[in-house]
Each structure stands twice: as structure tokens, then as C-alpha cells.
Symmetry: C2
Subunit: 355 residues, 2 copies
Amino acid sequence: MRIGTDDEAADKPLLAALRGQPVWPPPLWLMRQAGRYLPEYRAVRARVPDFIALCTTPELAAEVTLQPIRRYRFDAAILFSDILMLPWALGHGLAFREGEGPVLPPLRTAAEVERLDPERARGAIAPILETVRRVRDGLAAEGFARTALIGFAGAPFTVACYMVEGGGSKEFAATRTMAYTRPDLFAALMARLTDATIAYLTAQVEAGAETVMLFDSWAGVLSPQLFRRHAIAPARRIVAALRASFPRLPVIGFPRLAGTMLGEYAAGTGVDGVGVDTATELGQARRLVGAQVALQGNIDPLALLAGGAALADAADDALAAARAGRFVVNLGHGILPPTPPEHVAALVARVRAAA
Amino acid sequence: MRIGTDDEAADKPLLAALRGQPVWPPPLWLMRQAGRYLPEYRAVRARVPDFIALCTTPELAAEVTLQPIRRYRFDAAILFSDILMLPWALGHGLAFREGEGPVLPPLRTAAEVERLDPERARGAIAPILETVRRVRDGLAAEGFARTALIGFAGAPFTVACYMVEGGGSKEFAATRTMAYTRPDLFAALMARLTDATIAYLTAQVEAGAETVMLFDSWAGVLSPQLFRRHAIAPARRIVAALRASFPRLPVIGFPRLAGTMLGEYAAGTGVDGVGVDTATELGQARRLVGAQVALQGNIDPLALLAGGAALADAADDALAAARAGRFVVNLGHGILPPTPPEHVAALVARVRAAA
């Protein structure tokens, strides 16, 4: 285990900001900063038959994780992987079909929940942990002393969405219907995923991740009652378990499209930072979560794609929020593949030049 | 023009609640209360070749508007129509394909904006206005003296979404990209739609609508900056124009998934009531909009589909909010077609029996 000492952390703007220390310019990284918008990513991607092979080949996964750091010297590298690698490791089927997104067997029975195998996962995640180690070493070897390494997992509800639905969906109606009409079955699935997420994130920190982020991309489809039960409660359990093992570990939660529930999420889970989606107004987000939690967001990925005045305005809004409290500049959702890399460079320059 | 007198309005719980008068039990109606979940609707639908024919045959559109009132004595009847009937009336193409949703020619040029024809719309909406008149007469003739008639339109941004995209979409990226990269073109489209919406809603009120609702179903995909420009500003102009003609007309705005922007929307537009989507916490919504605006929502349509304890819990949350301020019980989104009609009856009974 190699958790950074406080002296090391003080030199890493992301960790400092998450711990409430003043940092200027604000730390900056972008969701999906390693990805298809970069030609060097596409070159590596072409060397493997599919996306899962890329995630489970440590040499290549570490390489694509480091690529955007070399270009932009972001304040964070985030493990290149996918939130569905955890159900994959647990033995649930997973395939990524070109242009169609993930395809999984739709989970509908208690027997299928029972079959999710934590023992199997322990072995299956080995290459992912090896990627974490290689990235941590690579950051040091290439002189990125200020870049923190983020581990991550999908939050149990969002992972359950894909498992129950059998893939992506607009509103995840089958998943929410299961939560309403078969609450015991759904609770069993959520409990197993929550346990597995704790083990998975613990292993990532032991391998070298310096902070972790929990992506609840579909939390926004939940009513407040279900949000409390299936977004806040599992995240609280995950944060508490990680804190018990790593008292100084900063944790970021991203309940996307939580809207008015953002404050309850921050207070109820105990995270150090919350991801803020593009639709959320940053002043209201600050009012909801209070001064003691960092906000991370929320530039519109379409403004980054558009560039020019749209991007400058969006960046300036984020910088204004950063002047007012704990803040990490990021997008409100992942980079879109057609984004010109020079727009990313323009954003980085604007944030780094901020007075 | 037959706007209800204050004496009439006092007997209609919906209008009273929107005007801030105490009403108990709270008024109740449901988005898409006329629709496929009702066998009597499906019987009428089978008599016409397509959805547009149903919307433009006053006898049948009025019949399906009245059907749920006969079953459930809702506090509102809402004109049976579709938000895309306005671009259709303006001469933009529209077709509804079974299981695929609306299909429109994707609008991309200034010439296509110029071609939208308000003069044509004035004639094309005649059967819709005739439906309004027939429903108002039908409510009186059938003894529904307490049921108010709601007219409606899509908000300009949501209508623009379908026109630019050429149909439905998950995130309406083409529309938002146009707003960022061709702001003048998008502003011209929005201005023309806003003018047309004012004329359309004015005509509905003159035909007998007692309140109007503006559906901005996709407002939630906008960043705060774009939300102010394309959701709040057009709605403010529409509300102001309606107020100038009909000083006592209550107006409901529904910026779906507005989240933290709900307060700015209410204050900035001047609406009397705001629709609240299922994801929004009602206590936070009240705090955002203040005491002078009615909330309308926000039972999860999937809880209504599930019935039983899930529905009872959701109804009780809405009733608790109704005890705390101006409130209209509704769903957070439209009724889902597989919803059992007896679940709707159970919801109505629970709300009407509320102490």
C-alpha cells in the first residue's frame, strides 16, 4: 500500500483541494480525458480486439491513462477502465458492441444475484490493479509529481441499472420497477454490489490510487425516496468502509443529475467532493452542499466541443465558482469523441492563466 | 372569449390553488391522463389512421379529453393534443411512426426558419381550437362544474429540440450545438417559435381554456447559461404577453429536470405554478420557488404503474407537500401506457380521502 504522505499530498493540487486547502489555479482534469478524441488513444485502441481487452492489458491501459497527462499535465490521471468491469469481474456477462454500447444478460432472479462471485472478482481484477501500479509508477518516472491518481467504480445503483436492463436505457424503467415491485431482490443485488465495490476500491487504493471517485451516472432517474435508499445509503456504506481502512483518503461522489438531492447526498454519504453535472447551477450546488465539500465540474462537454466564446464563458463560470470555495475544474459529463484536442488545450491554458 | 368569472373559478379547485386560495383536498390531475392506458381511449384511437388525425378531429379529440374526467372526476381536463402540433401548424413536416415517436425534417438553415408560417398556423390550428370549445361545453353539459380546462403548448426550446434533431433524442446534442455555434440562427428559430406560442395559447384561452401550461420537457439538458437564455427568457415573454391579454389567467410552467434552476425559472418567468419532475425533492422545490408559486407534481409514474405500497408512499409524500403550501397533485412525468386504470382509481381515492 502506498498512500501518499501529507507532504506528498501538499504538492498535489487535487488532493489539497479535496482536503480543503487553498489551491490556485484550481486543479483541473476532465472526465474521459483518456479516450477517442485523442489520436494516440485511437492508435492504442486499434491494437486490441475489443474494449475489455484494453481494460485488462495493464501495459496498454496504463499507456492510455498517461497519454492526456503528457499532453495537458492534468492535475489527475484517472485509471482507464469502465464501471462495468466490476460486474464483469463478478462473473456477469459483458460485451461492448461497436456503436451500441454495453450488452449484458438482463438480471431478473435471485439465483443470478447469488451467482455474482466475489472470489472470482478478486482474481479477475488483478490486471486492473496492475494498471493502477503501472500508472502510479509512470507518473513518478515521467516527472508528473503534481498529478494525483484517481481510482474509481460505478456506484451500485448505476451498475445495477445496466445489469437489470441488460445495457443502456433512457430511463432504466425495468430497474426502477424492480426496486418498487421486488424490493427484496433489488436490495440483495444492491448489497452484493456494494460489498464488491468496497473490496474493489480498497484494492485500488492499496495498489496506489490516491483518491477514488464513485460514478452514479443514473442516480438522477430516482425519485427522492429511492435516491435515499439506493444512491445515498450504499455510498455512505462505501465511504465509511474506505475511511475505516484509509482515514485520510479523499472520496469523490458523482450522483449525476441529482439536482435538488445534491445536498442530502453530500451530507448523507460523507464524501469530500461531489461531481456536479452540467445542468446544475454552481451557486445553488454550493448552497446545497455547504462550504466543507469540494465541487467538481461542470463545464458543458458541448461547450468544449464548440470551443470559442462558448468554451470561454463556461470556463469563466467554473473559475468564478473556484474563487468562491473548494473546487476542481472538470466537465459536467465525459468528453465527446469529436472534441478537437486543441479545444482541450485552450481550456487548460485559460484555467492555468486564471488570476 | 369566455374566461371564468371569479365566482366560477372559486368553485374550481385547480384555479383556486393556482391563485393561492386554500383548497383541500388538493386538486388532482395527471399528465397524459387521456391516453393508451384507458381502453376507451384505445377504442377511439382505432377509428383514425394516425395520431395527427386524432388531434385534428374535434369530435374525437374532445371525446378522449373527457374520458378520464368521466372515470375519475379529475380537477382538470387537459386539451388532447401534442406539443408538436404547433410546428406542424407552422408548416414544418411531422409524422408519428408507431413505436418510434415523432419524425420531423431536421431544421438546419435560416431559410427553414423563415418558412415557418404564422399565417398558415392561424388556419391550421382551427380544429384544435374547436376541440377546446367542445371540451369546455362538454364539461358543463356533463356536470363537471369543478373541473378546469387546461390549454397547453410545448415551450420553444423543447419544440426547437425536436425540429433541429428531427425527432426525439437522449441529449439533443445537435440542438445545443446549434445554440453554441450558430447562436443567431438558433435565436431566430426561438423568436419565431415564441411568437407562434403566444398566438397559439392566446387562441386557446379565447376558445375556453381557463389556464395554460407550458411544457419544457427537455429544459434539463441545458447548462444554466443556456437555460436562462432559452428556457427562462422565452417563457417570461410568453407569460407577459398572456398576462397583458388576460390579467387573471393562471399559467403553469414545467421546466422538466430543471433541478437547481427551478427557483430562477419561477422568479424569472412569473408563472403561477411550476411542474415538478419526479427526481426533484418537494421540500427543496418549495424552498427554491418560495411560497407564492404553486408546485404541481411529482409522483413517480413507475410508482403509479407498480401500485400498492410504492404508490401509497408516493401519494403520501405529495399530500405532505400539499399540506405545506400551494400544491396540485400530479405525476412527475406522463402516465405510462401499461398502467392499470385501477391504480389511478386508488391514487384518486387516497388523495380525495386525505385528512
